[in-house]
Symmetry: C2
Subunit: 246 residues, 2 copies
Amino acid sequence: MNQGHTEAEPESSEPLRYLSKVEAAAIETELLKDYRFGQQQLIEIWGHACAIGIAKAFPLRSLGKRQPTVLVVCGPDQNGCIGLVCARHLRMFEYEPTIFYPKRSPHTVHQDFTVQCEKMDIPFLSYLPTEVQLINDAYNLVVDAILGPETDPADMREPYAGILLTLKQVKIPIASLDMPSGWHVEGNNTEGINPDVLISLMAPKKCAASFPGKHFLAGRFLPFDLQRKYELNLPEYSGTDCLVEL
Amino acid sequence: MNQGHTEAEPESSEPLRYLSKVEAAAIETELLKDYRFGQQQLIEIWGHACAIGIAKAFPLRSLGKRQPTVLVVCGPDQNGCIGLVCARHLRMFEYEPTIFYPKRSPHTVHQDFTVQCEKMDIPFLSYLPTEVQLINDAYNLVVDAILGPETDPADMREPYAGILLTLKQVKIPIASLDMPSGWHVEGNNTEGINPDVLISLMAPKKCAASFPGKHFLAGRFLPFDLQRKYELNLPEYSGTDCLVEL
């Protein structure tokens, strides 16, 4: 019989690894090229896990407003698509997501995720109010699915710089997917937005090492070989959970 | 604000709908064509939910054998691919799946799912022992991911007829994905295999109406409009659960 079980366990005595930008990109490339994971598949796994993380951090019964509204702000690339999937699952979990997706990706895979949300009658905002009080009043929280580790904050263009300026002022909690938008992957980020919840995907990025809020790790699908190769030292997930609090 | 919440709830007072073959196919076509879900995405969602169902029905600590072995038998089409994804997630949940996949699909999407399992060192059997005692001794249970509702039992070819004959004789429990292989979607199936657990996907098929074993419904992603259009009257899922016991 298959005897590989005990040696296949990741080591847990070593400290959790926080990834550089290059390492995060290398792992994703290896997943797509060598392990033949699909982009659509990964985005679905990640978005689903993020929705579960948000439901854990902000249970329906804990929300202050009469309606369980959530504003999901989606960026132009993969992080934005993870936000779309997250919004769709939040809808299934009885939340009322509203999406702000100012620049839509031209990729078919990304467009498909957009159509899924549109066809499920999830409303899309045509602009983000600059009056932050309107956001504070209308939503229980904001999901930040704007920029992932692939984006250098120095290259950030409008409308994202303006959106992040608005998000720095909102009083309702922010949950960031993979990493807080606008932060340097490896830097010190005292100037950026200040999310209450962070859901790191695959493994946390270096910038998350000093994150003071509620921090989840999500995406329980990384092959054990890859975990070992990059010495990720991931914590143990419980039962069939797809995320774990760090 | 979005006021659609209460009216978007599916009705739960009407009885759960059991689908005909035509209805099951129509819902899937609508998901793929109109809602722009991807095949890869659906198979990932379903396989993941099936693995969770199996872990619920057969928790690691409940398994009789020293190693948490599971034999996953995969058919040539979509049901087989759901089995591949299920096996991969079972591996993440610390089970030791072994796959028997005698006829591999030529579709790229399906091949990708195969590579993912191979690269995760999940063993593939080159043949199924005809001596059922070998199966009873080696595995804790069998996952039947052979044939879905699209296959007419009358068209069943080898090696599947022989495999089902073997599975009719095994003494360890069988968990069937979507429907028990070899059963008529809408028929009375006293002659077929006799699974202990059934994990229906999207909505149960007509043949499941009199299923006497443990019956889960999985795949909590069906747009509410589609649920209403086909009058599915799905039961309520709890919290963020992706499956519910019927």
